[in-house]
């Protein structure tokens, strides 16, 4: 049932030192170190994983980590490989994969830079995507109290009509 997935995972494991498992049919999860990212991604693209579906960030507040996830799809193998890597939450710096996937990666990295404050080294355009003149912290960080921010920014406690927003 998951024969081609197991075979491909074996192929990666002989090449690189990674943790990984076959999650289910057509799904492979890989956990890698962040300094190996570019090397592995380059190899993945050479092996048919040309489609970078998405990049996402998970904020693990208690561990102090950002988990960055790359979803790669191969049109030949029909497997979705999920590459996960952890970086520090306080100094979120990681190599950009725009050198591999180009504009495909560009828009994702730009968004994540805006929402989580991740610095993608090597990406030359990290201009804000949606938030113009934004002065607050990166809004998708879990320690950002957006309700508190909105109360300070938009509402006035002395205004009787706006008291409901302070309950």
């Amino acid at each position: 049932m998951v024969k081609k997935e197991t075979e491909f995972l074996k192929k990666i494991k002989t090449k690189f030192k990674v943790e990984g498992k076959v999650q289910k049919e057509r799904r492979i999860w890989l956990t890698i170190a962040k300094d190996k990212l570019i090397e592995i991604c380059k190899w993945m693209k050479e092996n048919g994983y040309v489609h970078l579906s998405a990049i996402s960030v998970t904020d693990w507040l208690k561990d102090g980590n950002y988990e960055i996830t790359y979803h790669l799809w191969s049109y030949d193998d029909k497997i979705l490989v999920t590459i996960k890597t952890k970086i520090s939450r306080n100094t979120p710096i990681i190599d950009s994969v725009t050198q591999i996937w180009g504009n495909n990666a560009q828009i994702h990295e730009r968004e994540l830079h805006e929402l989580f404050g991740v610095n993608f080294e090597g990406n030359n355009d990290l201009f804000p995507l949606f938030l113009e003149n934004w002065k607050g912290p990166a809004p998708f960080r879990k320690d950002f109290d957006w309700r508190d921010f909105v109360r300070k920014e938009f509402y006035n406690k002395k205004n009787e009509r706006e008291l409901v927003y302070y309950d």
């Binding site: 938030l131 113009e132 909105v150 938009f154 927003y165």
Partner: protein
């Protein structure tokens, strides 16, 4: 047989012939005004037309949640309109921030940013309410003169 028009309607017709509208809608905003375009409520019978550029428009319709990014564009649209100009804000979202009252990215009250002439409450406002607002525009312009 001649159709008898009321005095009010006659004076209205003297003041303006038609209302030309420029739409500036975010999120579900346009869905609120779609019935007006259709045959049932058909706004063109009152001379209300949607124009392609703010420079031709008398009325600016704003609906939906304005974000920090879109309000800057809305201001620019407003600045291009010729006097006398009227801003009509549709729906509860433009008044209070509506469902996203605690969102960091949307503005809460439109009149902090643009001089709103009239608010039409409702989520969405009924087409009849929009017509009534447009009737009031005629009065408003008469007062301006």
């Amino acid at each position: 047989m001649m159709v008898k028009r009321s005095e009010k309607a006659k004076t209205m017709r003297k003041v303006i012939k038609a209302i030309w509208i420029f739409n500036w809608f975010n999120s579900c905003g346009f869905a609120e005004l779609v019935p007006l375009v259709g045959s049932r409520w058909d706004m063109e019978r009152f001379g209300m037309i949607i124009v392609g550029t703010p420079r031709h428009a008398d009325v600016l319709f704003i609906a939906g949640y304005q974000t920090h990014k879109s309000i800057e564009r809305a201001k620019r649209v407003y600045e291009q309109m010729a006097e006398p100009r009227v801003v009509i804000a549709l729906g509860s979202c433009t008044m209070t921030g509506g469902m996203y009252w605690d969102s960091y990215n949307t503005i809460k009250k439109l009149d902090d940013y643009l001089p709103v002439t009239m608010y039409i409450p409702g989520c969405p406002p009924r087409p009849e309410a929009v017509f009534e607002a447009c009737e009031k525009i005629f009065q408003h312009v008469k007062e301006l003169e």
